[in-house]
């Protein structure tokens, strides 16, 4: 199967390293800007929700971090799959980079979800909420991936074995998601975000979307930076890495 040229370019570490070097300042700066604007807008300007009063403002971070966690898992699985099938070393590096970030964001989503649950239902851990249940299972999948990766000392074998787990995991994620959703509909417990989400007026919606963009850019910055570090680690004895190291890049 003839792969397009840019695909091969994406496979060469020096090219991707420099691409990341050029892109990350933009991603980082824009991301922080959006997050700052979104937070100020969400906390100060947006009106309180008539039902949940002020605590609904967590809606500006909980769904976003959960979304980043899921996105990270999908990126990890796709990169791992590409790495496994076409033996692209860099794809494995991308999968390895996405995993810890995804785990951290899913953990953050769980915490904010639990905190949001306290005033809403009076308990920190609402087993009934399908989102919380799904995020917990997603976090376990991440921890399983990281544990399996940690168990291997040979990097190449670790890449290929965890790639299989990631692909199997991503096939199961939608199944777990909808079975938890279906299970919740049986027990009729309330959810943070009912299907339509709390009725959001336009000035509530704008910061909501800004935060989504902000978190996505922040995630991309983290991913690229971590990918760079992974490239340096993997291409240790390459000449261009040595010049880089001697230059003493910070």
């Amino acid at each position: 199967m003839k792969l397009p040229r840019w695909f091969h370019q994406l496979g060469s570490p020096p090219y991707v390293y420099r691409l990341a070097e050029r892109l990350s300042p933009w991603l980082g700066g824009l991301g922080c800007g959006l997050l700052a604007v979104g937070t100020v807008w969400g906390l100060v300007i947006a009106p309180p929700d008539y039902q949940q009063d002020e605590v609904y403002r967590i809606i500006y971070i909980h769904p976003q971090t959960a979304y980043v966690g899921m996105m990270a898992y999908v990126i990890m699985a796709v990169a791992a799959g590409v790495g496994f099938v076409w033996r692209v070393k860099l794809a494995h590096a991308a999968a390895v980079s996405a995993a810890p970030i995804g785990a951290w964001f899913t953990f953050c989503a769980l915490c904010t979800g639990a905190i949001w649950g306290k005033p809403t239902w009076g308990t920190y851990w609402q087993w009934g909420d399908p989102r919380i249940m799904f995020e917990a299972l997603l976090l376990f999948l991440f921890l399983g991936y990281l544990a399996l990766r940690g168990a291997f000392d040979d990097r190449d074998k670790a890449d290929r074995v965890t790639a299989i787990l990631a692909v199997v995991g991503v096939v199961n994620v939608p199944i777990v998601h909808y079975s938890v959703e279906w299970w919740n509909s049986l027990h009729q417990t309330s959810t943070l975000l009912s299907e339509g989400g709390p009725a959001m007026t336009s000035d509530m919606l704008i910061p909501f979307l800004i935060m989504f963009a902000g978190f996505t850019l922040a995630f991309s910055w983290l991913l690229l930076r971590r990918l760079q570090a992974e490239i340096i680690e993997r291409e240790g004895n390459a000449r261009w890495i040595r010049e880089l190291a001697v230059e003493g890049a910070p």
Binding site: E54, I115, L222, A229, I232, E233, A245
Partner: protein, 63 residues
């Protein structure tokens, strides 16, 4: 100002949620920096190592 911080009694929850999110972001940034520094140091060590011995096996026919 305090009224803003109180947020109608829910202040504790909102701020702790935002606090955790900020903490997660900062931790991740710090982790990435540490990983990069360690990788660079490792690369530096490698660059000072002498060139490894060439190990080409000899292939010959028995007479």
């Amino acid at each position: 100002m305090t009224e803003f911080l109180q947020m109608g009694g829910d202040g504790a929850y909102v701020w702790s949620a935002y606090g955790i999110t900020l903490a997660v972001l900062i931790i991740n940034v710090w982790l990435v920096r540490a990983k990069r520094r360690a990788a660079l140091r490792r690369a530096l060590e490698l660059s000072t190592q002498t060139e490894l011995p060439r190990k080409q096996p000899t292939v010959r026919r028995l007479q």
